[in-house]
Symmetry: C2
Subunit: 414 residues, 2 copies
Amino acid sequence: MSISSDTRADISRFWSTIARSAEIGPGRPGGLSRPTLTDADREMRDQFTDWCREAGLEVSVDEMGNIFGRRAGREDNLPPVMIGSHLDTQVNGGRFDGIAGVLAGLEVVRCLNDVGHVTRRPIVVVNWTNEEGARFSPPMIGSGVFAGRYALDWAHGLQDDEGARLGDELARIGYKGRLPCRAGEIDAYLELHIEQGPILDAERREMGVVTGGYPSHGMRVTFSGQTAHTGPTPMDLRRNALVAGARWLTAVDDLGWAFSAQDGKASGSRLAAWPNKAGILSDTAEAVADVRHPDPMTVRVMAERMRRDAQAAAAIAGCTLRIEDEWSWGGDIFDAGLIETVRAEAVRQGWNWRDIKSQAGHDAYHLATICPTAMIFTPCKGGITHNNAEDCAPEDFSAGLNVLLHAVASRADR
Amino acid sequence: MSISSDTRADISRFWSTIARSAEIGPGRPGGLSRPTLTDADREMRDQFTDWCREAGLEVSVDEMGNIFGRRAGREDNLPPVMIGSHLDTQVNGGRFDGIAGVLAGLEVVRCLNDVGHVTRRPIVVVNWTNEEGARFSPPMIGSGVFAGRYALDWAHGLQDDEGARLGDELARIGYKGRLPCRAGEIDAYLELHIEQGPILDAERREMGVVTGGYPSHGMRVTFSGQTAHTGPTPMDLRRNALVAGARWLTAVDDLGWAFSAQDGKASGSRLAAWPNKAGILSDTAEAVADVRHPDPMTVRVMAERMRRDAQAAAAIAGCTLRIEDEWSWGGDIFDAGLIETVRAEAVRQGWNWRDIKSQAGHDAYHLATICPTAMIFTPCKGGITHNNAEDCAPEDFSAGLNVLLHAVASRADR
């Protein structure tokens, strides 16, 4: 009834899809620059849907541009097992972040096709729109709307730096589908992802069983002041929004250092002021920052500290502020039973694995709020990611791919 | 031999040129957005040269795009008297900053034409290229090359945010002239400018005799780090250039407050990081800041403090830095004799005037290094400038225009 216990994924076939993806939206040497809903993203989506159809999957696209490749089950009305991640990248992104997870899903269905096995439940491979948040903030929007966390209209109205709207860009690249972006019943969601951290590589582990994510909290703040000449305007009459933003990101960095001994982090990642020119004080500054910490209560405290630091920064600079948006994820939200399925496969196949927590954001966090969810981490060199130097070898995916294959098959036959 | 002592400038004629200029490159309501070498700047230059030719001036353009409108003198080989300022604006600029000074020069020659008086020396009305530095940093480039402070090739190679080069943009708008950008002998340079500060307006003065400028020092610094994921990257492995820039501008603001009781200022005006996106640490950040103080030694100390603050900011953020460029101006550099000429005219005409120091940068500072130079300030409402709310009434220019007219005439007949 199930696949043979020694069925193995075809690493070189999987690797060839990684290599093809690495040609679409080239960035700095060795990397990719394929932000969501760009022409490069469209080209990658077209390639992915071609692959899905070649593998016999039924392709559908929802209103958020999420792409679903569905493999029918023997009892096709049962809730499906889903495998997903994202094909978009940061502007200085790598070839594996997110991509490996989507293409791993494709490899799983190709393996099942090879052995001619039809699982009891349907299997759906998913590419989620805008996981990175590099072009439209916040990140993980496609899976967030799917899971009911965000409203569709709100997501469609998000604007990039040039004022283009997410909904319009979906339509422009031909990926604004008609399928409602709303989850039905799902049996399980599994996501393979490179670790994006140095632990597996440093310990020479072949894979990680992700038991949860570091609680994380991010926010986007707009500071408002008034333009004025940098020369004659006395310090006490200034309302320089750029200074408010700079002071906030400085305070956020201090916060990160204060909690760094317990593995806490705080990151200023964006400061966009206007006019942002020599000789003039800026009247607007948009800033983005986030905090992460293994302990949920500490993240709540850090988030509140970020808010108060923003108020203090605005006050010193004579500006007002508005918190435009906040987002959070993480915690011990993955499903104990599904985690145990993954662990059992890792043991059975004899890999050198460990439990691990994710410190990054993943679509799986949104899925975990609506269905049993687990993740598999694969090693990446030095943990370097969101950088063109992100690097993996084909064999880095052997454990993860094969555990994913068997975990999916056993779950889908359950 | 000279003009009649009661000859008066035609304020409504002057105001009509201000109103026409205010139609070219509209910005926010009431303001202008006419950065140097844009299409709007070209249109204004075309209008200005038309006016010059209508007033019988011989127009020439030098390699830096500086425009000279020359009125012949009776002894036409004598060094000329120059009147100048700039027609470019900040991106959120007003209708008067710089513009009033160029158009005041035009009004002076129109007055001399009206009364049919040919001065002994020639008179040259000048529009200097890129005074604002809003598009190409540093400011006051056209006058700086003219005065020998900057090299022509260096200035032509400056790039704007989109990578366009100043020399190419000069050619594109048709204002890369053939005249060498090099000052010959100049008898005197006079510049009328709105105060850009609140003093004249607050004291209800009709004009100011500018005796010098606050010593000022600016610099442009590039911080270099490495992109990485905002999540898993430990604080001690980060090289976030955005944080380096934010820390520097925070320190610069602190510096301004520390010296504010003695009327010192320190301004962070620009911070441009890359990729500057949520989820990723930035590997580059360009920042611009300047300090100003009435005392030259204090400005030297403040400038050195800025440099060390930049080093400290880079160190904490794990980045390297390069000071790309530094500039300074100000001090008691104006000509005592020419200042006295302006003062004497203000007294003779019976205006309510005072001596004043400029806190802004002006082309006159570069000219002062090569010829006797003086400036006249006119009031502006509340001292608000580099903002679309910049405002003046026609009568605010009565004193300045008439003092300029007679000071120029007497100097040119000397």
